[in-house]
Amino acid sequence: MSISLNILADLQQIWQYQFMRNGIEAGTLTAIVAGVTGYFVVLRRSAFTAHAFSEIGFAGAAWAVLTGIPPLVGLLLGSNLGGLGIALLGRRATNRDTQIGIVLAFSLGLGLLFISLYSGYATQTYSILFGEILGVSYDQVLETLAASAAILVGMGLIYRPLLFSSLDEDVAEARGMPMLALGMAFMIIVAVAVSFAVQVTGVLLVFSLMVTPGATAQYLASRPSRAIVASVIIALIATWLGLFLSFYTPYPVSFYITAEAFGFYLFVRLVYVRFRWEKINSGSLLKPPQDRSG
């Protein structure tokens, strides 16, 4: 296997391998879902929460490995329980950092205990922590497809109320939106999305698909529908390029995905934003608003 200048030939070569096809399919689905949900994760300032899900999911996955059930089941169980708990804790994410951190630390410790109790190979643990997209089976691709479809339908249903409540919680509440139910629905969606993203990036690197594309997209477009499309495109490019590069090099996919997502983010913040916003907002970028004190 060596890379040639003929991209098409390279892609054909990659496509010959079942594990690469599975990886590309699962990665594509995950990137779309992560791009969409990630936009809202960033908009609602829930990045820390999303990360907590993956670590609570880690405890669940480690427990699953120990008891011999599929790690994904443990992941889903852990992250969903975490999601419901956090949604019930209260409305404002900013006030919940401490509680989330406390639960997160405990979960990681619990995960460690399960791993140390497990006498089998440690590779499974390693893949939960850092992702193993190339180990995805065709059945797992189908599972990912089903979950992705469910998430996208769910997001479509709550899209406008979720956007409204994310931007303007108080008014949305006064207008009669069911805030707790919306928050819970979103948390469950994120929990499921995180669980599947973990297959690609691993527990520790889940930020690169769940947060970085969404955060980058917010700088690219100020209309949410466009920003979501941008977020999905960034997640897709990062995933595809990561798979492509790792196929021809000895380095892990997760590394490439995180590096590319980070590269996008840096480029957009340091180069793109400077050119655009200075035009649009006549220099108001980074300048604090004048009369908003108090």
Partner: protein, 283 residues
Amino acid sequence: MQQPWASELMAKPIAGSVTVDAKSTLITAEDLSAGYEGRAIWSGASFSFGQGEFVAVLGPNGAGKTTLFRVLLGLQHPMSGSVSIFGAPPRRGNPHIGYVPQRHTIDIETNVECLELVRLGLSGTRWGFNPVAHSDRESAWKALEASGAAELAHRRLGALSGGELQRIFLAEALVSNPEMLLLDEPLSNLDIKRETELLHLVNGVVRSRGVTAMLIAHNINPLLPHLNKVMYVANGKVATGKPSEVLTSESLTRLYGVQVEVLRDPHGNVAIIGVEEHHGDIT
């Protein structure tokens, strides 16, 4: 700043308004009391406001002004007494009420354009996803025009100043064509110029659309030229009436239970002496 046709738009009668009779009553309250955890903040409030009235709600911090709004919005049940709004008990999600909450700010990191927030004031309560629906966009533009904020439509929410934000929030509240506006301290953090501008906007909306507006404020003086009624919340009680009736030494002394002096200067400005937190303060 405002398009010439904007005023015409604002003057257009509102679809679905109950009646055009300027005297029809929108809100009535009888012996109303409200509070938290079984303890009343204020009680014995009786008042009624008609369509198209501009009401200032005044009183010291913590007196329960926002609580009154929460009761009217159906976010909180009254402890006793009765209140009806549009002829029915308050209910959460009443589309006839436009609401701008207190200390309503937007994270400066929020890179979402203003037009989008105003649109959501109309379509944000609808479930499902319709990528081609653009009727709310048109309404949002009209509301932005009416709030004198059309030129802010494509600016990012996080980049706005306090005065600009308040105009966007006003547009967000107006976009669903409400018959009533509840504005919780929209003037705080605004300098005198912006304060006057916003008040003129609100007054324009009240007069041209026949909207009833209740506005919580700390400083009564800039409001006086526009007001129909004043509601003074203090000392666990509520006094309501015309500004000339409520803002008198006798009325406020009765409300506070201590000697209060109301002074007026030749321009009609009011100063209240004898209470710690008089509404000349801008907090």
